[in-house]
Symmetry: C2
């Protein structure tokens, strides 16, 4: 029988994360005064142990035993050879995917939610606040907080809160509190509600509310948590790629092409960074982050300094950005609707080490349906994007008659986001084409900000 | 680090199913004439290779390579030590669960859907019909049919079809057709619609429609498929217990107590039958099927001959039954709302080899929430029932100061059934107490049927 699924045993689980900051240069985040942010300035928002990870340049960072114990509920995750998809495409390419959908909330997000909850716990924090759009991140943090006995409060973008009542049920089942954002619980929320009572909400507003709720808690025992973009978040996700590398070795393979979908950048970073290390050290690999054409941060937006949130509470981050005021079109891949991109991923694109691709909503769903009917697992709307590019690469390999080895991250299943498939089948979904004019207009918000340097890591 | 998750490698996957029919006696199914049904009589409904399995008394039956290849997408499934639940209960018991929720549709159902689709394919069948209540079985068969290129038609109980539109989306994503039952596509459906246009539908009606749709297809290339109750279905599920046995051995354990929730009986049979074999051969194990108190087939209904469906299309089966006309109260565990019980499971209860338990809806949800907040996985409403009994056994072990080893089947996750949790938290759920009078009234329908013999296997 041909090998379909490659396991690692419990004893083979990686015990350190890989920190790409040891191997690339990054522009520093800047404060309101245009000067680099110091760790102290972030202390009201994050616990100091996570801030230390954020700025660390150690190449290998130990994963605490108590974190491993929780990750072990579903990790090591399986690496699966997409034999049926290969047969369907009649390609000489060998396609492998890392199945991150086997986590309790169904995505890769708990890989960082668990250590974040752990480090907050160790630091004496009693409560974590966060925002969530489609709900994957809020669910993951709710799950993680329940594992460490920490209170969790999630501000969920109002329109999603209404469209997806069961995401709230998930969070509540894990003991978290979830409210629609804008809420009347924060000044940021009250201000918006006063002027726009019928607003559908946005990730930017929700981030503002979550940060405000954390920093204004006078007990000093509340902190904020972010599910992507930041260095320590990407660090935690590298367990995906480190496991995949071991699993590929077990079957005598090494990837020619690596792909992950990219919204904030964390699942793409997770699968690819351990291989980016190899590429920096001379390996010949093509590495592709895949984003939605409706929110083309890496493929069409410049590399600039911009804020991580609409309300400009966060420092200026060096990243590809469509502008902090940009409201992405309502594609169903809520996890990819972000105006910016992780600074580390942005830096790799700026240096030409990785090469971004963009996929339209309809192409993404078409690919997802092919995957479901061949490989059997229904992908999350976000994951559909990477699958579309995987299929394109496999067909290219066929055209060229090359036995390419393709590895991608199957970031999550779509069982809680079937509404998108429903609309796809009833032909209610459309693509969203952004004009250059719209993009230029959105980008206006950062034109007077400092510019990041074009650093070269190699 | 304490071992939490026990894997089997791909090469350790069981290559044969265990057939309990080699080791127990069973009353035969009876036709309308009161005489045993012959394989030929079932030929319009099922393909002959599955009928042969249904009546086989071979102890070990080979799993075809093409079936293994599909099962391998998620199998071997992990065996997990419930360390956090143990700690929460402060019990000396060691609790292990087999995580069947990692399959693409999220439950144990594909373990039989895949071989059923395969055997139909091999027999030349082009289309399979079935019914579904809550949707787990319909989804699993849709998935399995997509893997073998077979058309799939699902009649879904109307009330569930309306309440759970995303179950239909799942089936459609896998390429199946799903209609609300009663439908206008069958005579059985038309008859009901003519007299009861507003009926919410029932599993009984849906089964009648699915069987009719299969046997009236003049091409001769359509057959019907059932997701529980029958011998070959239970046979296919034994891969769960066979894997669990190997996994327990790996960590030097053997269970004192084995539990599974029971509706039709297949997931309970899957985890327990390989151990029932041991018990018949002298091992001291307590084996408990756990059913909902609202549909107390094993705990309160007699062992009789009754039909498997309301419309009496099926042969008479020897089973514990509340009567084929019994409409179970609307508990959220749709998968456990069945008037009868698998003949093999019924026979084991009749002989005292296994001992049934019943759990109320509210106790089940309370247990599910405890499990979600300790072990991290949100259980299906059906699975909540077995968890309630597991917790009771673990607390009993604590009282008695005994280091019991408990094994149970985690039959599915609840991510597509969060509506039940939603209602639980908002206190909209209630228990359903059936009076003796109600049960006696329901049982009236089979009082003039033949009676099964009290066979003794040991």
């Amino acid at each position: 029988m041909e090998i379909r699924k490659v396991f690692l045993t419990e004893s083979e689980i990686p015990r350190q994360w890989y920190n790409l900051l040891a191997d690339i240069k990054l522009n520093p985040p800047l404060g309101p005064d245009g000067k680099p942010v110091t760790p102290d300035m972030l202390a009201p928002v994050f616990p100091m142990n996570l801030i230390e990870q954020e700025v660390s340049s150690e190449r290998w960072i130990d994963i605490p035993e108590d974190v491993l114990k929780v990750l072990n509920i579903w990790r090591p995750s399986p690496l699966i050879r997409a034999l049926s998809l290969e047969a369907y495409l009649d390609t000489p390419a060998r396609i492998y995917y890392k199945n991150e959908s086997v986590s309790p909330p169904g995505s890769h997000k708990p890989n960082t939610a668990v250590p974040q909850a752990y480090y907050n716990k160790v630091f004496g924090i009693k409560k974590i606040t966060t925002e969530t759009g489609a709900g994957q991140w809020g669910s993951a943090l709710a799950f993680a907080c329940s594992q460490f006995g920490i209170e969790c409060k999630v501000f969920m973008v109002r329109v999603s809160f209404k469209q997806k009542p069961y995401r709230k049920s998930m969070m509540e089942t894990w003991g978290a509190k979830c409210v629609a954002s804008p809420s009347s619980e924060t000044k940021a929320g009250q201000d918006i509600l006063a002027t726009h009572p019928d607003t559908p909400g946005s990730l930017g507003i929700a981030i503002s509310e979550a940060i405000e709720a954390a920093v204004t808690d006078t007990s000093g025992q509340t902190r904020y948590s972010l599910g992507s973009v930041l260095n320590h978040v990407l660090l935690h996700q590298t367990i995906i790629g480190l496991e995949a590398k071991k699993q590929m070795e077990k079957v005598g393979e090494y990837p020619d092409i690596i792909l992950g979908c990219a919204g904030g950048g964390s699942n793409f970073a997770g699968i690819s960074f351990p291989f980016v290390y190899d590429k920096i050290n001379g390996k010949d690999i093509d590495i592709y982050p895949v984003e939605p054409a409706a929110c083309p941060t890496l493929t069409r937006a410049p590399f600039v300094y911009d804020h991580g949130d609409t309300a400009r509470y966060t420092p200026l981050l060096p990243m590809h950005s469509l502008g902090h005021a940009f409201v992405p079109p309502p594609v169903h891949a809520g996890g990819l609707r972000y105006h910016g991109m992780a600074p580390m991923v942005s830096q790799l694109v700026a240096e030409g080490i990785i090469e971004p691709k963009a996929v339209s909503q309809l192409d993404a769903y078409a690919a997802g349906v092919v995957f479901a009917r061949t490989e059997g697992i229904i992908p999350a709307p976000e994951t559909n994007h990477v699958i579309s590019s995987v299929i394109a690469e496999a067909l290219k390999a066929k055209e060229e008659g090359k036995e390419k080895v393709i590895l991608f991250n199957f970031s999550g299943h779509g069982l809680i986001d079937l509404v998108g498939y429903d609309k796809y089948f009833s032909k209610e979904l459309t693509n969203f084409a952004l004009s250059e004019k719209e993009i230029k207009a959105a980008e206006k918000v950062f034109e007077n900000f400092p510019k990041p340097e074009l650093l070269k890591s190699r």
